[in-house]
């Protein structure tokens, strides 16, 4: 049914500022503290209780209602793909390893931040003037790349950076007309939507918010969080790759995954899970009834926290709802503002409709 008091269709200055803070935070898998601090600060006035579990997930609870309501775990992962410092050369250049499915071919010529202090560094390439054709025709390999922090010796570098320090792209959020460019939209955008949802929860449900860790290295945080929360239902908020690009030959691109500007993408099946059909129907119906644009994410490989959620304990009916985003896992991604807002509205409408749906009634 049509839901009143949906979240706003345009971003507020506060929600934009929050998204900027979240995406500019440095938080690769296993090092999500900066993101968690921001989330905790935003949730604090609204939460009855917050917990940080053994893995670092932030779990937030509202006051438990007196009557039995559907317990819905909504999760968004705080971590991003990035790099980790793995060595320091004699001359002060830093070696690194990728964390998660980083787009290696985007590393050459980039600016990076090291650690929460955001120590600036660059990943340069040799001048093309000095490269053989063979060299510039071979793809970049991580082991050939270094981060330059302007240190002139190993000792100088060691004073600033320790082994294991986390590295992200040095990208500031930029809004241009109807689009937003930022790093780590996967999944700080989901985090931003979940913060907003928690601050203004739909009636009739018990919302269990899980800001998870280590999604990019195997959905690890979500496993522990789902075990702890024991939800009736699970929903993962994430970004879906929008690979809606033309093909070189001009033929139809039949592996687009999702399209930018066509609304949030509902997952039916990915590499990790087949979504609960009742969930899919509930979300599509909620979209239709509330005039919210949506699309079905093309069933292909890949996965979200829903893959871990649905396998928790005796199994949890789960689904993913994602904002289409281009150029994920690289220095800067791109989303459409309307897609973001439609996702925030659609998750709210769907959760508000859940208690009266066959998901809950059949339970």
């Amino acid at each position: 049914m049509a839901i009143e008091s949906l979240p706003p269709a345009s971003p507020t200055p506060e929600s934009l500022a929050l998204l900027a803070r979240l995406t500019e935070a440095v938080g690769i898998s296993g090092g999500e503290a900066e993101v968690r601090d921001i989330v905790a600060e935003k949730l604090d006035p609204h939460a009855e209780r917050m917990e940080i579990d053994a893995l670092g997930n932030l779990l937030a609870f509202h006051r438990a209602p007196g009557d039995r309501r559907p317990k819905i775990m909504v999760c968004a992962h705080m971590d991003e793909v990035g790099m980790m410092i793995s060595g320091i050369d004699k001359s002060g250049f830093l070696r690194f390893k990728p964390v998660g499915g980083l787009a290696i071919q985007t590393l050459g010529g980039r600016q990076v931040w090291i650690g929460r202090e955001k120590i600036p560094g660059v990943i340069g390439l040799p001048p093309i003037h000095l490269l053989s054709e063979e060299k510039w025709k071979s793809e970049l390999k991580v082991d050939d790349l270094r981060i330059d922090i302007g240190a002139s010796s190993k000792e100088e570098a060691e004073e600033k950076v320790r082994l294991g320090a986390q590295v992200t792209f040095a990208t500031r959020l930029h809004q241009q007309e109807g689009s937003i460019w930022a790093k780590a939209l996967d999944d700080r955008l989901g985090v931003a939507i979940l913060v907003e949802l928690f601050q203004n929860p739909p009636p009739g449900i018990e919302l269990l918010a899980a800001f998870t860790v280590q999604e990019e290295v195997g959905l690890r945080g979500a496993q522990a969080a789902a075990h702890r929360l024991q939800p009736d239902f699970g929903l993962a908020l994430d970004c879906a790759p929008a690979r809606d690009f033309p093909t070189w030959e001009g033929g139809k691109n039949d592996r687009y995954v999702s399209h930018l500007r066509e609304g949030p993408a509902i997952y039916v099946m990915d590499g990790r899970t087949i979504a609960d059909k009742r969930w899919v129907d509930l979300i599509t119906r909620s979209a239709q009834e509330n005039g919210i644009q949506y699309q079905i994410r093309q069933p292909l490989s890949g996965g979200t926290d829903a893959g871990a959620l649905h396998l928790s304990r005796e199994g949890v009916p789960s689904v993913s709802l994602s904002v289409p985003a281009r150029h994920l896992h690289g220095p800067v991604g791109l989303i459409d503002v309307a897609d973001w807002r439609a996702a925030a509205r659609l998750v709210y409408a769907s959760l508000a409709n859940l208690p009266a749906s066959d998901l809950w009634q059949a339970d």
Partner: protein
């Protein structure tokens, strides 16, 4: 008040100035140079010529110091669906492009990103190895109709990476090749304020060095200086760069030696650097120097030329890196060189030709 070179250079680096489209950079330099020189003149080839008069008897000799204000970049050469295709202006390793944030200078300035489409969108031969510029796309986040209204073939695309202060006294960003040297020339002009020199000084911010160097040609041909020095950047030592082809950052400027360089100018730069305590190394240039000095040397019946360079890492990438101290050293050395020019130096220039080095 001391000239804030970091501030000026930071502003310069944010301006688009792809070869043959240097006007915004030129206007910023003009603003900086105008109070420091007697005359400043435009040219049909776009370079900025500034004259700081000498005090020697007329007709005076003149020294030209040239640094190029243009930079490498990209140009839109096609629109396909919601995306742009680009061609390079100057030499660019395509491997720096995927993931690169760019500015597209169409009807309005747009931020965009270069990317390589997934394999499923590429022909089989482009699915392996390094990216080929031909198959890369630029996304500005607009649907096709809006994109076509905003951008057309021939529009320029520049690296949008912000300037980054790095380590201690180092700077990283696009276009430091060769605006680092423009900053050095500016420092030289500041150094010379209130300090009379015998020769006329013609400071030039040249155009199109990355393609044909026509700006330097025009400046040399139209001014016919007694000698000319190209101020440019050279390869800084960095990972994967052969040590013998590069120079360590922060350990000195380089003084070009080879057929493009007049031996007397080489000697004079070395001597004055030694006197001033400015570290300088010989850079052997057995063929071309790859600088404005090439066309200046053969212009107008021949002009004695020198090449002074600032080591820079990661040349022609969006993260070129220099030491601010070396920009300052270059400015100081150039000023000292101008102050030391006596009338008999012209004699030395021809003696060397007769006796060899």
């Amino acid at each position: 008040m001391a000239h804030d070179v970091r501030l000026f250079l930071g502003e310069l680096l944010q301006l688009p100035g792809v070869s043959a489209y240097e006007s915004s950079v030129r206007e910023r330099i003009r603003r900086e140079w105008e109070p420091l020189v007697a005359e400043i003149a435009d040219s049909p080839m776009g370079e900025l010529q500034a004259l700081k008069q000498g005090v020697g008897p007329s007709p005076r000799n003149s020294v030209m110091l040239a640094a190029h204000m243009d930079s490498i970049g990209l140009m839109v050469n096609g629109i396909q669906g919601d995306f742009l295709r680009v061609q390079s202006v100057g030499g660019i390793d395509p491997r720096v492009l995927p993931g690169c944030i760019v500015k597209v200078h169409g009807g309005r300035e747009l931020i965009g990103e270069v990317f390589q489409p997934p394999k499923s969108c590429l022909p089989e031969k482009a699915q392996k190895g390094a990216p080929d510029l031909r198959y890369l796309l630029v996304d500005v986040g607009l649907p096709e109709a809006e994109l076509r209204a905003a951008v057309e073939v021939g529009d320029l695309v520049t690296f949008a990476s912000p300037v980054m202060d790095i380590g201690t006294g180092m700077l990283a960003g696009p276009s430091l090749d060769d605006r680092a040297s423009v900053a050095a020339l500016t420092l030289c002009l500041h150094e010379l304020q209130g300090r009379p020199h015998a020769w006329d000084l013609i400071a030039v911010a040249t155009t199109q060095e990355e393609v044909t160097a026509v700006g330097a040609l025009h400046a040399a041909y139209s001014r016919r200086p007694s000698l000319a020095i190209a101020v440019d950047v050279t390869f800084g030592q960095a990972p994967d760069v052969p040590e013998h082809q590069a120079f360590p950052i922060g350990e000195g400027l380089t003084n070009g030696w080879g057929p493009n360089v007049h031996p007397a100018i080489f000697d004079a730069l070395q001597k004055i650097a030694d006197q001033e305590g400015i570290p300088i190394t010989t850079e052997v240039m057995p063929g071309e120097s790859g600088t404005d000095a090439e066309l200046m040397q053969t212009a107008a019946g021949g002009i004695p030329t020198g090449v002074l360079s600032i080591p820079l890492r990661y040349m022609h990438t969006p993260v070129e890196l220099v030491s601010m101290g070396e920009i300052e050293a270059a400015g100081k050395l150039l000023a000292a060189f101008v102050l030391h020019l006596e009338d008999d130096f012209v004699q030395k220039l021809s003696e060397v030709h007769i006796h060899g080095h």
